[in-house]
């Protein structure tokens, strides 16, 4: 065992990379849940985003176009969820599960040609002086664009939810859809937009895994990150900044266990690989005592003619 091989600066830098897919998916789902909809299909939308982004990036040679395609693919898949839950008024839990099962199959089908292919590299932003700073240069600067986009998105969602009229309407719909409907807001339309936003974010998160974090395509490569993102929303008690904190915490656990595996710690690899899931459960247990901050209409179907 050689713990000195672990470089703390690189550790923090890779922690930020590991956290970004979680953050993107969780912020998207946070907005969805704020509107009163529980979409359990995050894992499915992520994996479809992962392969759509990967395929688009390989075909066009541009990782950025890949991310655009991933967002579109995620939103398209979430459109299915819209049809199920907002038009056909199906059970949200079951529909979300269906979305995940369908997405896993669809991604495997789409990805057959792409196993073993190398995607085009995403350039890092290199700011001449800042990136060369000792310690902080590597941690704060010199990442890819999408990582900063994730943080900016968190800030934007926070500001919109807290200070804008749009955010207020979204929260009203999520807290009490009947009251919001009585005030004349289009509940179904607002929820549809929120679900599409969540789908696009999950797609981006998926593409971040296949294009930057790993980067290659393998079946089922999201390996439960979509589900951890769902847990993260509970962890964050529906607050964007706490989602960022949570994502970095989970990213940290993942990176540390990978580093311990590489350093050859005496704990068997399989037990280290379990740790992110076990810690998710632990965190859920600690935090689920307080449910007061959950949107009041979460998971309930809305039908106007009553």
């Amino acid at each position: 065992m050689d713990l000195s091989a672990i470089n703390p600066v690189l550790l923090i830098a890779s922690l930020m990379v590991a956290a970004t897919p979680l953050l993107l998916a969780a912020i998207g789902e946070l907005v969805v849940e704020k509107s009163g909809v529980l979409n359990l299909g995050v894992e499915g939308m992520m994996i479809v985003g992962a392969i759509a982004g990967f395929a688009a990036a390989v075909e066009t040679g541009s990782p950025l176009l890949g991310f655009v395609a991933a967002a579109i693919a995620g939103a398209l898949l979430s459109l299915l969820f819209v049809i199920m839950t907002q038009v056909a008024l199906a059970n949200q839990v079951a529909s979300g599960l269906a979305l995940t099962l369908f997405g896993l199959g669809l991604s495997a089908l789409m990805g057959q040609k792409y196993v073993g292919v190398k995607p085009p590299q995403m350039g890092r932003i290199d700011i001449p002086v800042l990136s060369d700073l000792p310690v902080f240069g590597r941690i704060l600067f010199g990442h890819d664009v999408v990582l900063y986009f994730g943080i900016a998105l968190t800030a934007a969602v926070w500001a919109v939810l807290k200070y804008s009229r749009v955010g207020l309407i979204l929260r009203a719909v999520g807290e009490n859809h009947d009251a919001a409907h009585a005030l004349g807001y289009k509940v179904v339309k607002i929820r549809t937009l929120a679900i599409l936003f969540g789908g696009a974010c999950a797609g981006l998160g998926g593409a971040y895994i296949s294009l930057i974090r790993v980067p290659q395509w393998t079946e089922g490569m999201t390996a439960g990150i979509g589900w951890i993102a769902l847990a993260l929303v509970v962890f964050a008690s529906w607050k964007p900044w706490r989602a960022l904190l949570g994502a970095y915490l989970f990213g940290g656990v993942t990176v540390v266990q990978l580093n311990l595996q590489a350093a050859g710690v005496a704990i068997p690899v399989e037990y280290l690989a379990m740790s992110p899931y076990l810690i998710t459960i632990l965190v859920l247990v600690i935090l689920s005592a307080d449910k007061s901050s959950a949107p009041a209409s979460l998971g309930r179907s809305f039908h106007a003619s009553r």
Binding site: L89, G105, W227, A231, V234, M274, I281, L284, H303
Partner: protein, 360 residues
Amino acid sequence: MIRLEKRPQPSRAWSMATPLVAVLATMVMGGLLFATLGKNPVEAIRTIFWEPLFGEFAFYYRPQLLVKGAPLVLIAIGLSLGFRAGIWNIGAEGQYIIGALTGAGVGLAFYPTESWIIFPLMVLAGAFGGWAWAMIPAVLKTRFGTNEILVSLMLVYVAEQLLASMSLGLMKNPEGFGFPGSRNLQQYDSAHNAELIAGTGMHWGVVAALIAVIFSYVLLNRHMLGYHIRLTGEAPRAAKFAGVKPARLILFCLGASGALAGLAGMFEVSGPSGQVSIDFNVGYGFTAIIVAFLGRLHPVGILLAGALMALTYIGGDIAQGNLGLPSAAIQVFQGMLLFFLLALDLLTNYRIAIGKPEVA
């Protein structure tokens, strides 16, 4: 203008018809999917649904129907109890793995002793393993209010790692020349879940699945506990007034589904699969969710749905061999079926009305 009108009572006719309509719709959409993959859609659908039952090699495939259908029905029956009461056990795959591990573990511990008692002990151990694994989300939910969906799902990934660790470590065959995987239980008579009638595919798991169907039917229709389960799902407020204790219901529903999933895993590992290996689990726990919904959460429906889903597995395998249809296409096909089913359920509870609504 097309609008939805809520029916005063759910339509019984539509409730029976939706699974059939959903299967037909899936066949049409699946055919389109296969066509885009460059396969002859009619040929593909025929290979999946006709070939295993009445084709040239049906004598080989028909027994497979029982082998693949039994774990699906066994797991889905357990899941349906919880789903009816709004308790979502999504981690059946994990409970299935743990049941296989504990069941096989007991069998392997006795190796090479031969005794009739070993197999019954393995059955108990398998059920206990699955039950214990499902008790984790159940107890966390009743004690701390933790979401059972997320916890049971996280435990699937934990179980998968445990399976890998076991097949590479503790349960590895000492005479296996270093290959991963345990001893083959098919070669150990006392632990082998053999076919009861040779050549039919009928093994103890099939018997257990049939017993589970009967028990669940009696429970839901003739027993107070079953009534409470249905009441909690259909009218939660009324259930509260009737004095239904939610904690007891959660423990029962998750425990029962865990035990049944564990049994399914145990019968699989000691029979058709034969050994504990890294790729032992093939997603029965997740497909069983589709089976439960396709069977309308009704025991008899689940039996039929399990047979149908087993058919798509076998037919998918044939189509893979004969037509080069990718195995993922079948997964998409099964997912599609669940979508159609859930969406068409609308017609059970709502009626589509055309024309202007009357002014109240």
